[in-house]
Symmetry: C2
Subunit: 192 residues, 2 copies
């Protein structure tokens, strides 16, 4: 059955591909596609070529830092784990290290890949790499805040995993990737 | 601190909003926004007004059905839990019931809301409602397959939770929402 499917993939033909919209934060592509059944369809999707990272930093005392940031599309704040795009020329682990420093002023050297996931595979080509950084420590040497323009980060606080799971239940944490990171971390702990 | 943030939200002003692209499957919006600091910025995001559902159906013998479907943006197949958009006039629970029937020919009446999550809150307004359907049963009365054009569903199979978690570890299941559903179900089981 799987072999049939592999053959079928070869029978999906991208006839045309055009970029409809692009900013540093998102891109939209529309392809003209011939399906294995011979039908020609238009298929629009986001995130062509985009990789992101999500990081769950754990400090020495097991506390987890979260950032409180304004999420314009939802017109509300959320408590989130850090994350962001992998830049051109970067490998995901380097991006994780950089984002952790930029967003939280946290240094870490050991990054454990918990998984690679498609955020929304039907409409988005984006792949997110989820890292655990167990040796995280807050640095004292922040110079300037180097936040991206659209991130609107307001504050950072430390929480226990139990406090955070209670915030998920109350809906104070509603970012799917943050919740996925937390549950993968719980899986990691239970498998140790 | 929270009160300050509430006040700040009022100081985010949407000056203009225009739809850049729209299909039945996705939409893209660009707003002109005045930030609390008085700066005018463009903010593009997708999924304005969109709600979706994700469902984890559990059969009487505790088996979980997955569907094998082609994910064009990733040029590969994935094993997924069912899900889809909430139609106009529908409540999320009705959409969960409908999608479960359409994608898997499964009937269920008891839907337990495990949470509401923002798929990608920085760039997507979409909110996904995750439901557990413990009383799921496969119906014998399938007439015609009523799949959406872009879903490309190929087959359905039943798995144990243990088999599924092994597929997640191997990367055979890579849809973030499917993995989130599974881990929320594990949380639900451990809290019982």
């Amino acid at each position: 059955m799987k072999n049939d499917h592999q053959k079928e993939i070869q029978n999906w033909k991208t006839l045309k591909s055009r970029e409809i919209f692009k900013t540093p934060y998102l891109n939209l592509t529309e392809d003209l596609v011939r399906t294995p059944g011979g039908k020609e369809i238009k298929y629009a999707y986001y995130g062509k070529g985009v990789k992101t990272v999500g990081i769950i930093p754990v400090l020495k005392d097991k506390k987890i830092p979260l950032i409180y940031q304004f999420r314009y599309p939802h017109k509300k704040y959320s408590w989130d784990l850090p994350g962001g795009k992998v830049d051109d020329g970067e490998i995901p682990k380097e991006a994780a290290k950089r984002e952790l420093k930029e967003e939280m002023n946290i240094d870490a050297t050991r990054f454990i890949l918990l998984g690679k996931f498609a955020t929304s595979p039907g409409s988005n080509a984006l792949v997110s790499h989820i890292f655990l950084a167990l040796d995280s420590r807050i640095s004292n040497d922040r110079d300037d805040e180097v936040y991206d323009d659209t991130e609107f980060i307001q504050e950072m606080k430390l929480f226990t995993l139990e406090e955070i799971m209670a915030m998920v239940k109350k809906g104070e944490i509603y970012n799917a990737q943050t919740v996925l990171c937390l549950l993968l971390y719980k899986e990691y702990l239970s498998g140790k």
